[in-house]
Each structure stands twice: as structure tokens, then as C-alpha cells.
């Protein structure tokens, strides 16, 4: 097997245990993309091994290969010293490899025990034997999972522990966690790390995928950095800083959401009062939400996902029928108007899910430029789509916003996530908006595109737009916002000054812990 010069260096310390997983020269090509190329990783037993890299670096592909979802085009996989070929997740599980996905795969209407047993009925039956085994695993790794609890009653952190338990129940000795902290607040992250340390103490190997460098440095024993599909280095966290890791990840300096001088004015551009979105049964999705955004101000909304952020955005955009309260943009009352009228009155909208709400994937870029601007020049004139003008304006966006594409006639699907997002940002900044709603604008984009999008939000602010920024990335919120509101169960429960707030404080407010006064006002 030809070894290249960039073979990973072993950490300085003597290996603690023998190797649980050994990957050599793993390569995987997709049409037009090399997802993985000459990946070499050694995972020791009884350690937490972090894989870091920016979005699109090839981490997910690598993990899918290790979990048998996709076969590699080249290279070898050794598990416990034995070379294996994994052609399905079932084979991976049989080899003791388990995976916890970022999006949980649990049936809400079943109990924890039923979820764990589902698909593994042959191991310990479905009755008392299974329950005893679940309790045993839960106790020995300190997971604290109640087998009889209904999954729908569990919080995000507990659901994640159920997923981990599922994997352990199936006999996994190597556990892959794909961005496990993305859905957790800081306190839950600490709990998760406690659980992971228990696992490694029992001799299991944990593969931890993340791009949050501070977390990786605090929990991992070894860190392998993946860049452009290949392993560039394996480092020891004790001798490495986040900055060094970041530079290994991007191969250059890391962009930071740096704060700029305030441009906030007195003029209110968005005035939301008493916005409520009732549900036929139970708690409203939005409950008496009131806030204002001024010209030149960025208002950040922090919150654990699913606490009403998406509903808030959609209610402001007029996509949620049945909402009450008033929404005024630039002095014009938009309550009861259609989404189109709201867009025409100057709202730019970067949706949370760009594939679902932001793009026509099979349509060329110039048609995507027209989308959302069907009633405005230059896309449309007198009821007719002006292809030439729309194409020219798409080219302007491509140039100004650095969208990497051969041209405006390429279907949107052919672009990478970051370039798709840059196109959306460029489109939504067209037509002189007064309010920009940016929902998770940098989710799933690479570091380069992230920096560009941050710049655009800052430019929007400088040019006197009001910006509503929703993000799960607390650094992004703190770095870009002039003010942060925390949303919890559909209500705004606290306002913070980003210059003084810490992620931990935000985390407390997001979970409702230690913030009783806001709760009592109901």
C-alpha cells in the first residue's frame, strides 16, 4: 500500500490501547467531486477521537463509509485488527460499529424500551430480558434512561442518550456521533461529554464529528483534521489551540464574526406587537411576541430549535394563516396581507431551509433570481418574464456575491450549499429591501461562504436595513447582533446585550433554567 507523505502523525504519547479502527487510504468519488481522498485514521480503544473539518470537507462521507452506508472506492477498513468490508449498516453493526445521527430516528409514540428494541428483537427479546439489559446499560454508562418513558415526553438531551443506548444495545464497541452537540444547549453538552467519558472508561472507542473547536478540544483525546476530503493532521488536544485547529481546517486564517461600531438609529423599521399563533389544541406556537427593530440594527433571536423561531419568521412573512397581532414594516401595517405584498413592501427573506423554501433546485439560476421577485423589475415587465434582464441581474449577483458557478443558466442543484446560499443572499438583497430576515443564514455552508454572508449582513446593517437574525450558532448571534432576544416555548423570555452576555447565560435563558421572573409574568 503506497503511503503518502501526509500520513497522520501519532500523538506524542504512547498509545493507550490497541486500535479499534484503522482506516488506510480511504477514497470516495462522486461525480465531479472527490469526497474523500487518502484518508488515514487510527482510533484507539478507550478514547474519544474527534474528526473536525469545515462543512463539505468530507467528514460525513467518511462516516457513512465506516457505517457501511456507502462503499469506499479505495482503501481498507480494519476493525479490531481485522480487515472488513462493510456493505450495509447491518454489517457495520455486526462488526460493532454504531452510529448516532444528527437527526434522531426515534418513534415519538413509543416508549424508550420499545424504541431501543425496535429492529433488534432477536437480541434479548421484547420483554423483561430486554428491559433488564436496557437498565443494565443505562446504569453502567450513567445514561440515566428510564425504559418506560414515552419518547415524546423526553427532551433533546435525553433523546440523544436513547440513541446512544440503542447503539450500545446492539453491541457497538465503536460509536460514531455525527455533530451531536448541534442540537444541544451548553448545559446539555456538558452532560453528553460526561456520558462520553463513561463510554471511553469502559473501553469503547468514540468517534466524535464536530466543527465546534472548543468542544472538541475539551473532550477529545485525539483530533484528526479533514480538509478537502483528506486527513491533513492528527493532533493532541493538550498541545493545540482552537486557532491552530481552525487554521488546519481551512488552510488559512479563520474568519470571525467581529463586531463593528453601532449603526442603530431611532427609526423603527419593524414593529411586531402581540404576535400570537394559536394551535387548535394546547399551547400557542407563538405567544404575545412583541419587539421592534430599528434602521441599522441587527436583532438576534436565540433559542433551542423548535421553540417558535421558524413560526415567528413564517408569521412575519405571511406564510402562517391564523396568526394574530400586528406587524408593521417601515410604517406600513402588513397584518393580513399576502406574502407577495409583504415581499413587495421591502422584506428580504433568507429561509432556514434553502432547498425547501429558497430555491427551485432543477431550475436555472436566472429563474431562481426571478423567484420572489415575480412582480418587480428587472425580472418581470408588464406580466412577462424578462429573461435577458433577469439573466443579466443574475450575473451581477454572481459577480458581486462571489457565487462560484459557470454561469446563470446552470441549475441551482449543481451548486454547492455555500454558493446556493450566496445566490439567495444576493437575490434577497436585490430590490432595495428595508427588512432582511435571515434564518440560520450560514447553516451548512463552508467557512469561506460563511465569512462572505456575515459580511453581507454587516453591509445590510450599515446600509440602514433592519435585520432579524435567527441562528443556532451563539457565536454568530453574539458577533453580529446589536441586541439578542431569547425565545422559549413561543415567548420572548429575555433580552441580552451581546457585548456582555456569555454563551452560558444565553444557554440558561434558552432552557428556561434560572430565569424565573420571565416565566412568572404570564
Amino acid at each position: 500500500m503506497p503511503e503518502k507523505a501526509k500520513k497522520p502523525e501519532q500523538p506524542g504519547a504512547e498509545p493507550v490501547g490497541d486500535l479499534a479502527v484503522r482506516l488506510r487510504g480511504i477514497g470516495k468519488r462522486f461525480p465531479g467531486v472527490i469526497a474523500n481522498d487518502d484518508i488515514n485514521i487510527d482510533v484507539r480503544r478507550g478514547t474519544i477521537h474527534a474528526i473536525v473539518g469545515e462543512n463539505g470537507a468530507g467528514k460525513s462521507t467518511l462516516m457513512k463509509i465506516l457505517y457501511g452506508v456507502q462503499p469506499p472506492d479505495s482503501g481498507t477498513i480494519e476493525i479490531g485488527g481485522k480487515q472488513v468490508s462493510l456493505s450495509s449498516p447491518a454489517e457495520a453493526i455486526a462488526q460493532g460499529v454504531g452510529m448516532v445521527f444528527q437527526h434522531f430516528m426515534l418513534a415519538d409514540n413509543l416508549t424508550v424500551a420499545e424504541n431501543v428494541v425496535l429492529g433488534a428483537e432477536k437480541l434479548h427479546g421484547i420483554g423483561a430480558g430486554a428491559r433488564a439489559e436496557i437498565t443494565r446499560i443505562s446504569d453502567s454508562y450513567g445514561l440515566g434512561v428510564d425504559p418506560d418513558a414515552m419518547v415524546e415526553d423526553l427532551g433533546v438531551g435525553a433523546r440523544q442518550r436513547v440513541e446512544i443506548l440503542k447503539v450500545l444495545y446492539r453491541g457497538a464497541r465503536v460509536i460514531i456521533l455525527d455533530e451531536p452537540t448541534a442540537v444541544l444547549v451548553p448545559q446539555e453538552v456538558d452532560e453528553l461529554f460526561g456520558n462520553l467519558r463513561e463510554l471511553k472508561a469502559e473501553g469503547l472507542a468514540v468517534l466524535f464529528i464536530s466543527h465546534k473547536l472548543d468542544e472538541v478540544l475539551s473532550v477529545a483525546d485525539d483530533i484528526t483534521v479533514v480538509r478537502r476530503g483528506t486527513t491533513v493532521a492528527t493532533v493532541d488536544p493538550s498541545g493545540t489551540t482552537a486557532r491552530q485547529l481552525a487554521e488546519l481546517m481551512v488552510g488559512s486564517e479563520l474568519p470571525q464574526p467581529t463586531r463593528e461600531a453601532s449603526t442603530v438609529t431611532e427609526e423603527v423599521l419593524l414593529d411586531v406587537r402581540g404576535l400570537t399563533l394559536p394551535t387548535p389544541t394546547g399551547r400557542p406556537l407563538l405567544d404575545d411576541v412583541t419587539f421592534r427593530i430599528h434602521r441599522g440594527e441587527v436583532l438576534g433571536i436565540a433559542g433551542v430549535e423548535g421553540n417558535g423561531q421558524a413560526e415567528l419568521v413564517e408569521a412575519i412573512m405571511g406564510m402562517r394563516p391564523g396568526s394574530t397581532g400586528s406587524i408593521t414594516v417601515g410604517g406600513r401595517d402588513l397584518s393580513g396581507t399576502s406574502t407577495r405584498e409583504r415581499r413587495e413592501s421591502g422584506i428580504g427573506y433568507i429561509p432556514e431551509d434553502r432547498h425547501r423554501h429558497g430555491l427551485l433546485l432543477d431550475a436555472p439560476l436566472w429563474e431562481n433570481r426571478v423567484l420572489g421577485h415575480q412582480t418587480r423589475r428587472p425580472s418581470v415587465r408588464r406580466g412577462l418574464v424578462d429573461r435577458r434582464a433577469a439573466t443579466a441581474d443574475t450575473q451581477r449577483i454572481i459577480n458581486t456575491y462571489d457565487v462560484r458557478t459557470p454561469g446563470p443558466n446552470v441549475p441551482a442543484r449543481a451548486l454547492s450549499g455555500g454558493n446556493q446560499q450566496k445566490l439567495i443572499v444576493g437575490r434577497e438583497m436585490s430590490g432595495e429591501p428595508t427588512l432582511l430576515i435571515a434564518a440560520h443564514p450560514t447553516r451548512g455552508v463552508d467557512v469561506g461562504a460563511q465569512a462572505a454572508i456575515w459580511d453581507q449582513i454587516r453591509i445590510a446593517r450599515r446600509e440602514g436595513l433592519a435585520v432579524l437574525l435567527i441562528s443556532a450558532d451563539l457565536d454568530e448571534l453574539i458577533g453580529l447582533s446589536d441586541r439578542i432576544e431569547v425565545v422559549l416555548r413561543g415567548r420572548l423570555v429575555g433580552e441580552f446585550d451581546p457585548t456582555t452576555v456569555t454563551p452560558a447565560q444565553l444557554g440558561s435563558a434558552m432552557t428556561g433554567a434560572g430565569d424565573e421572573p420571565a416565566q412568572e409574568s404570564a
Binding site: 407577495r340 423554501h357 432543477d362 415575480q374 412582480t375 449543481a414 451548486l415
Partner: protein
């Protein structure tokens, strides 16, 4: 591949898919013939023999009717609406038009125009029911249009009995015939007398052009296509999906209303119990085959009409039932769906590779520049 102009590649792919589908359909039909012990070669040589002038006229006339049906279905397809109800819509429409025109309230050509307008209105209303149900109650248009087909059959049969006039010495009941002055004259074709193409072929061509223009050039068409590609994205862009659903069904139904007009105004002059049925279902296959493209639908309609016409003498010449082409036509619907998906995936992979290659060269030259600058 990458050296080819992307437009040419796209054209090749567009042509490749139906060719692949037809090839597969012919192969499967041949297989059926083989299994049944029928003479495969003779069947195909009969079907594929050059048609005579008389047959050409029949083919064009049948294709005119099928084309309108295909366009009506295609309008729905462009918005992801599966209007299976074209069949019921055109029958309701043709009956309404025949009933009104038979009364001859207006003179001459005006009566004919009125008949066409009534047909479009009736078709639109009939399809609009399904659109309304879909937009307000979320009822799948597939289910409701199928139901409406059955209802159409019964309603038309009932109404026909109410209005019918029975011809002397015949069991055929039909509406009152349209007066001579309100009939659409045909276009003479070839040297033989009495060979005429439906005058309505002009309208069919105009409908095809209008379909292309409205869908590809107007804002309405853009909204319609955008909704078809992604309803959530359309909603976020400010399109009212409900309104578009109703508008699209109305439009599809209005065109469906025209399907019976060439027959009514050009040959039968009345709606009777023998009025041709099943044209709406052929339209689904033709719209699929033609890829919802105005020219593609025309080619599909001509092909279906050609197969129908050329299979007529099969029973006499080779002793095989002409129904064999129904197998071909049916199989085409399946193979078309498969081959388009295969070609679409291939095409999008090709496109991604092209984009990646274009960007790779760009990036490579970019980094070279940087390195040079550094050095």
C-alpha cells in the same frame, strides 16, 4: 462529453429519453407477440408501412384531438397536478356545447364561437370542482377527477335522455344537430375528393403556441412552473398556491373542453351516445411522452394516432388483433416514466460534473496566481 456545448448535450438527452422509451415499448410489444405466437415481423411491417393519403388525413385528424387532450393534461403536470379528469371534462363540455349549438340561438359563425366558449366554460367548471376541493379541503385531485369522470358519464347520459332527439329508424340518441352554417369547414388535403382535415387543427396549433407562451414567457406561467417544482419555495416567494391550484385546474379544464370540438364541429355535428370516449386517458400518455413540451406533445399525438390508424388492417392482413398497439401505448407510459428518470439523473450528474470541472479549472488557475504572487 464535456467538450460538447451543454445546449447540445441537453438536446441529445431530451431526444434520447423518448427514443429509449419507445424502443423499450416496441421490444416489450414484440415479446408479447412472440409469446402469443404471432408473426412479429409482419405485424411491425404492417404498422410501419407508409400510410396512404386517406390514412394520413385520419392520422392528422386523430392527432388534432389527441393533441388538445395532451396539452390539457400537460398544463396540470407542469404544476404537479394530475388531471386524470380530462376524459370527463371533455365529454361534459362537448355535450354542453352540442346542446347549446343545436338550439341555434345565434346565427352562423357566432353560434360556432358560442359553442366553443360554452365547451371551455363547461370543461373549466368540471375541472374547477377538483381544483376547489384540492385548494380548500386538500382532496387529492387524482381521486376527485376520477370520481368526476364517473359522475360525468352519468350526468351526460341523463341529460342526453332529457334533450335527445332520436333519428328515424336508429337506436342512436343524440342532441339536435348543429345547423349547417355553424359547422367548421375542413381543409382539403391531397387530390382525392372528400378528404379533409379538421378546420380545428388551426385552433389546436394556436393552443399549442398559447401554451408555450403562457407557461414560458408570462409571470403567470412562471408562478405555475415554480409551484410545480416546489410548493414550499413558491409559497415563500409570495405565490398563493391555493389560487394557482384553482387557476391551473380551470385552465386545464378549459383546454380539455376543446378536445371534443374538432369532432363536434367537423364530423359528428351532434353529441350522441356514440361520441368518441377515452380521449382523456390517451392525453395522459401523450403528455408524458411529449414531456409536457408543446412540440413533444404534438409528436406524441401523431405517434399515437399513427399507431391507431396503422393497426386497423392488422386483423385482416395478418390475423392479429389491433389491440396489440394498445399494449404498446400502455407500455410507453411506463417506459417513458422510467427512461425520463434515468436520463434526468444522468443529465444532472453530467451537469454537476461540468460545473465542478469548470470551477476546478477556475480554482486551479486562481491558486496558481496566488502562489506566483507569493513567490
Amino acid at each position: 462529453m464535456t467538450s460538447l456545448d451543454p445546449r447540445i448535450v441537453r438536446l441529445l438527452l431530451a431526444v434520447g429519453a423518448p427514443v429509449l422509451a419507445l424502443g423499450a415499448a416496441f421490444a416489450i410489444t414484440s415479446l408479447v407477440l412472440l409469446v402469443a405466437g404471432d408473426p412479429v415481423g409482419e405485424v411491425w411491417s404492417t404498422i410501419l408501412s407508409p400510410p396512404e393519403t386517406r390514412n394520413v388525413v385520419n392520422i392528422i385528424n386523430a392527432a388534432t384531438v389527441l393533441y388538445l387532450s395532451g396539452v390539457a393534461v400537460a398544463i396540470g403536470f407542469r404544476m404537479n397536478l394530475f388531471n386524470i379528469g380530462v376524459d370527463g371534462q371533455y365529454r361534459v363540455a362537448a355535450f354542453a356545447a352540442a346542446a347549446v349549438a343545436g338550439e341555434a340561438w345565434l346565427p352562423g359563425v357566432l353560434n360556432m364561437v358560442l359553442a366553443v366558449l360554452v365547451a371551455m366554460l363547461a370543461g373549466a367548471i368540471w375541472a374547477g370542482i377538483a381544483g376547489l376541493l384540492r385548494a380548500t379541503r386538500g382532496v387529492s385531485e387524482v381521486i376527485s377527477t376520477i370520481m368526476l369522470n364517473f359522475i360525468a358519464t352519468s350526468v351526460v347520459a341523463f341529460m342526453l335522455r332529457q334533450l335527445a332527439v332520436r333519428e328515424e329508424g336508429s337506436n342512436i340518441v343524440s342532441t339536435r344537430p348543429i345547423p349547417e352554417g355553424s359547422r367548421l369547414p375542413g381543409i382539403p388535403f391531397g387530390d382525392l375528393p372528400n378528404l379533409e382535415i379538421y378546420g380545428f387543427v388551426v385552433v389546436a396549433v394556436a393552443v399549442g403556441f398559447g401554451y408555450w407562451f403562457v407557461l414560458n414567457k408570462t409571470r403567470f406561467g412562471f408562478d405555475l412552473r415554480a409551484t410545480g417544482r416546489s410548493a414550499p419555495a413558491a409559497t415563500a416567494s409570495g405565490i398563493s398556491v391555493r389560487r394557482m391550484t384553482i387557476a391551473t385546474m380551470l385552465l386545464s379544464g378549459a383546454i380539455a373542453g376543446l378536445v371534443g370540438m374538432p369532432l363536434l364541429l367537423g364530423s359528428s355535428y351532434a353529441y350522441g351516445s356514440t361520441f368518441q370516449s377515452g380521449l382523456g386517458f390517451a392525453g395522459i400518455a401523450i403528455a408524458l411522452l411529449g414531456r409536457n413540451h408543446p412540440v413533444g406533445i404534438a409528436l406524441g399525438a401523431l405517434l399515437f394516432a399513427f399507431l391507431d390508424e396503422q393497426s386497423n388492417p392488422l386483423q385482416i392482413l395478418v390475423g392479429v388483433s389491433p389491440d396489440i398497439v394498445a399494449i404498446t401505448q400502455g407500455v410507453v407510459v411506463l417506459t417513458v416514466v422510467i427512461s425520463y428518470e434515468v436520463v434526468r439523473r444522468f443529465g444532472s450528474r453530467l451537469e454537476q460534473r461540468r460545473v465542478a470541472a469548470a470551477l476546478a479549472t477556475e480554482r486551479a488557475s486562481g491558486t496558481d496566481d496566488k502562489q506566483e504572487a507569493r513567490a
